[in-house]
Symmetry: C2
Subunit: 522 residues, 2 copies
């Protein structure tokens, strides 16, 4: 065992697991895509973020467009793309007596081509805003941009040429990249075109996030997060079937626990695997959950056996946080994720997630005959009782969370998913919640996924489909090519980062309609 120390972390590297993850490196598939048309961003109060794209010509017209200082052209590549770009640029006029200075902006959404990034004042790094400044010294030139971008639109903007020449662009080609084998996934056959559309866009979302690992979002953070991985893996079993990629990601997390054996909330993959120094209560438990789902989908007993100790260790560590009443201790820090909401108290939903994970642990322990089943069953019982006794508010008829006894949808949803209540009571609770809309609402497709699955498991399939269509269909209505990281129908500009410019509009955790529709035969 190799120990890595930094100021904040001690990492116990399991070299054997790390090597196994390395051997599971997926094949990447590339495809060259030409622009579909030329567009223009126009102010449009009815469009999301106030901007929409207007047709401005066919792609063939590009070569005839001559651009001088301050001019720009926006290429529409027809759908969301993840990959690199190349283009040719030629001088028009006298021989170029100065370099070409230009900017290239990659946009998932029209607004990104319209609002200058210099206006960005969000709190996460503006380095995620997809723009490049280029000098081209020798013209004509074939420009190959090295970095990978996530976009549908590419804006080519001439910052300066010289008074003696202008430029024109040709042969703009995007080379997309994914590790998803799209030939392995069949389009949904369904009489409801809305569900067909949701399935198609959800699957495209997953495809664009499948790279050397399951990334959370190809625009941002391009990283392997446990919360996203769990949902991607579930959707993957019903689409691309890249089960080895799930296995690779599980081994990656298991290879780099900290000195307590806790897996990190996320991993950096390059230049070498580094576990982030963020550890989250719920995400660590989702290691077990992802292993559980992987075993259910594949029956791969070897992997289950090998990774069980890591998975079980997450349970042990989570149980250390349980107080004498049998309730997960609340903390002031960012200790559990649940949802992107600054006001959300994490205690009750974390209690739900702990029970949910323990039940999966019990099944796996029983499968492996580890002798831990009995003890696990007892802990589940204690935690469920405590949930009802300590966290159920008789007066409000909702689960409450934290010292302030906060009502949130997250608390109800996770208690239902954990099976704390009888199905009938679960169903009644969720329906009432949807009608009364109390407390803290969901902010993300991630939380919404859990609401939809809770509705289904509580037997409210019809309402589940309705809510799914309302929410994910709402994004489609706003022109989504892939599903977004963040979507609050009541606040379209919502961003936990201070600016919707930096939001990710192709985000793994929103890919689950494919899973929900196909698994539950919606």
């Amino acid at each position: 065992m190799n120990i890595q120390r930094s100021e904040e972390q001690v990492i116990q590297v399991n070299e054997s697991f790390a090597r196994k993850a390395e051997t599971l490196m997926p094949e990447l598939f590339y495809q060259d895509i030409e622009p579909y048309r030329i567009v223009e961003a126009v102010e449009d109060p009815s469009a999301i973020h106030g901007w929409s794209m207007k047709d401005a010509g066919s792609a063939e017209e590009l070569s005839g467009i001559v651009l001088g200082k301050g001019d720009s052209v926006i290429l529409d590549f027809g759908d969301h793309r993840v990959g690199t770009i190349r283009f040719d640029v030629s001088p028009v006029g006298s021989p170029p007596d100065a370099p070409l200075y230009m900017k290239v902006i990659f946009a998932e959404m029209p607004v990104e081509t319209a609002v200058p990034f210099s206006e960005y004042e969000g709190w996460i790094s503006r380095s995620w805003l997809q723009e490049e400044h280029l000098h081209v010294d020798i013209l004509p030139a074939s420009v190959e941009m090295e970095r990978r971008y996530s976009f549908r639109y590419v804006k080519l903007e001439v910052l300066d040429t010289s008074v003696k020449y202008k430029v024109s662009f040709t042969k703009a080609i995007v080379r997309t990249v994914t590790s998803a084998d799209t030939s392995a996934a069949k389009p949904l056959q369904h009489s409801d075109p809305e569900l067909v559309a949701l399935d198609r866009v959800a699957m495209k979302t997953l495809e664009d996030c499948m790279q050397e690992v399951f990334e959370d979002g190809p625009k941002r953070d391009r990283r392997l997060w446990l919360g996203d991985l769990r949902l991607q893996a579930l959707t993957n079993y019903y689409s691309f079937g890249s089960n080895d990629l799930v296995k690779r990601c599980l081994y990656l997390f298991a290879a780099y626990p900290n000195d307590k054996g806790m897996v990190s909330a996320n991993l950096f993959i390059k230049p070498k695997v580094i576990p982030d120094d963020t550890y989250l209560f719920d995400y660590s438990l989702f290691f077990l959950s992802t292993l559980h789902d992987y075993y259910e989908a594949t029956g791969d007993r070897n992997t289950l056996k090998e990774l069980w100790p890591t998975a079980y260790r997450q349970v042990e560590l989570a149980l250390e946080s349980v107080d004498e009443r049998g309730v997960v201790q609340d903390l002031n820090s960012w200790w559990s994720f649940i949802d992107w909401h600054s006001e959300l108290n994490k205690q009750a939903p974390s209690q739900g997630i702990l029970i949910y994970a323990l039940k999966q642990a019990e099944r796996l322990a029983s499968e492996l005959e580890t002798g831990q089943s009995q003890e696990l069953a007892e802990r589940i019982h204690q935690l469920e009782e405590a949930a009802i006794e300590q966290l159920w508010d008789e007066k409000q008829q909702y689960f409450v969370s934290g010292e302030q006894r906060q009502v949130s949808w997250a608390s109800q949803v996770w208690m239902v998913l954990a099976g704390v209540l009888e199905p009938e009571r679960s169903s009644e609770l969720l329906n009432r919640m949807l009608d009364e809309k109390p407390g803290i609402l969901p902010n993300t497709p991630y939380m919404m996924h859990h609401l939809i699955e809770a509705l289904i498991l509580a037997g409210n399939t019809e309402r589940a489909v309705l809510e799914m269509k309302r929410y994910w269909g709402g994004m489609l209505g706003h022109g989504a090519d892939t599903f977004w990281e963040l979507y609050n129908p009541e606040d379209l500009s919502f961003s936990p980062y201070g600016s919707h410019l930096i939001n990710s509009y192709c985000h793994a955790w929103s890919c689950t309609p494919t899973y929900l529709i196909r698994k539950y035969g919606l």
Copy 2:
């Protein structure tokens, strides 16, 4: 013969000359240079452009400097450098959860690190301003920047990292490039330290402009201009002795004349040789002048013979512009260069240059026994008589130029260099001019060179040295590491481009102190 046509030009390519130029491609010499120290730009009303550099630490301290969003550090590479740069950058803090976004500014002068380039509003392309925006996705990284820059200072500015990490820089190395063989040039041995300093900086200026061709300036335009080539070649004979590089440049110009046989004022070298569509009366004649000087320095009779027809053709074309009075016709267009001055009339100085070039032509014709000497001698006589009769103003006792009978130093200087007056009258004229300071003064080291040489040829060596020390020494006084494109002691912010930010501070045409000191034994 290969004919190239564009809208404005028809080029008659002499393939044999082009191939010969290709075979004369010089060897390039590279040298790795470490930073000399860390500096800080401080406002300083006594410094040129209002900024000077303050010592801010030794180069060894760089690795200990931690930079977050908005922070920057300026490296001083100790002298003017032309080349590429590489550096290592490492994260400090948590694992980098976002790319590093940074800007790199290359500065010949302190002001370039201090005044944002966004404030540039000059009329030539801002693409010459030496700045790059970089995203570094994977950290730590070794960054190798591809483009060649011209600078002494490098400012590394962090535009953003993330709240979780900062960066530090190490191993910043400049790889300089030149085709000058510095081992071939000896430092000046002279009792006057001022002249030693002028010679050293002049030679450094030439060195940094010597690349695959004699460039005008490595910051801008990085191009082969005939006006610069002539002065670089002269200085080269007294320093690096890269005579084949002069030969290469002569063949390049001769290979791409237009359909009239006129050589272009300058050539673009990459991606292939393209003659600019700028043709200048004086610069075309300087082809002959450069050939004359080359032959005088090398005795290379083969090259002289081969290029003589091209050289003589420039004389024929120039003579077509002479009116019935025997005076070069004035034009409203940018037809002759002479100096960077928007008010300067070009007629009289061009008359001087024509006579100057004809005298060199006569010498070469006589050397080659072409039978043209007699005719040339007659034309010289006519032009000299016309210069006196038409352009000498008896009342003002100065040569005048154009319809407005403008007095300029350029006119006096070129008439003297052309030998239109007896040496004694020349001497009297220049001394009076320097005392009275009439009309249009020189704006560039290029024009100043001609003034100094005119003084020497008129026998005023003492005044020549004085003026040279005042002018080039003035640049040294302002901290010049290399001599500048533009320097007007009365107007330190002078720029013909609308901003001194875009001026070139290592410019070939200012390298002649080495030539003047060494040729004339000053």
